[in-house]
């Protein structure tokens, strides 16, 4: 079966492209990125700030057991409804340099759409380091998935 979410990380390039097709009209897909309450639900993080406009800013915070374990923020550089969002991404309390993220939203048909997320890193090695740290993002990563991956290693 073809995978719905694709990651393209070319060797030696300081970028990463994530693509996903949805059985959703473009407007609904974009809404899921625009509406803070909905972002909270699917990203599994608290949205402290989300100013959807040029020169706006955003901030997310992820907690576990009542304590903040991860937070990130950035500036929104471009915001065009149903088309694109460009923003910076900075992990707080981290040595990782700021990333630049380009989100592009396209309609595939009346009821299907695609998001393309291009992440540009300061260097190739920072990109590779980030990829080695799924936990930096994946607190809500399903346990059975982990089990599945690790079982394959045995």
């Amino acid at each position: 079966m073809e995978q719905k979410t694709k990651i393209h990380a070319e060797e030696g390039k300081q970028e990463l492209v994530i693509t996903r097709d949805f059985d959703l009209p473009l407007e609904l897909l974009f809404k899921a990125y625009e509406d803070a309450d909905i972002v909270e639900q699917w990203m599994g993080t608290k949205v402290l700030k989300l100013e959807n406009k040029k020169h706006g800013s955003w901030r997310y915070e992820t907690s576990y057991d009542g304590n903040v374990v991860f937070s990130a923020n950035g500036v929104i550089l471009e915001f065009v409804s149903n088309e694109k969002i460009t923003r910076t991404f900075e992990m707080e309390n981290s040595a990782f340099p700021i990333q630049l993220e380009f989100f592009e939203f396209t309609s595939l048909s009346e009821n299907s759409s695609r998001v393309t997320m291009q992440i540009v890193f300061k260097s190739v090695s920072f990109r590779d380091e980030l990829l080695k740290m799924p936990f930096a993002y994946g607190l809500n990563m399903a346990h059975d998935r982990l089990q599945e991956i690790v079982t394959r290693l045995k």
């Binding site: 979410t5 909905i38 639900q41 057991d65 374990v69 981290s94 080695k132 936990f135 990563m141 690790v150």
Partner: protein
């Protein structure tokens, strides 16, 4: 010793996953890590011991303090490292899709 089995057991626990998340971005002392949890300090120490034994965490002596940091080499061993990253986004996007399929405009 089956090291891989230990890695799996290590990441099976939600508190240990939270610890890995916490130190993924910065080196921390045991005290600083424990202060982020409501769990008793000895319990956190036990978790740190397990994570260190299976080499997911590394210890580094800095003066009188011992700092814990993530061992990226070991994290890489957990899987072809792109796959967990892809799966994480896949899970999020699946969630997005199901939320929006049920979305009713106010």
């Amino acid at each position: 010793m089956n090291l891989r089995r230990d890695v799996f057991q290590a990441i099976a626990d939600p508190t240990r996953r939270a610890i890995l998340l916490l130190v993924a971005t910065q080196s921390m002392t045991a005290g600083a890590i424990a202060s982020n949890f409501n769990t008793a300090r000895p319990t956190v120490s036990k978790h740190l011991q397990i994570l260190t034994e299976c080499e997911l965490l590394q210890q580094e002596q800095n003066g009188r303090e011992v700092y814990y940091h993530l061992n990226p080499q070991k994290m890489k061993e957990i899987a072809d490292f792109i796959e967990p990253f892809r799966k994480m986004w896949d899970d999020r996007f699946n969630k997005l899709e199901s939320i929006m399929k049920n979305y009713k405009p106010q």
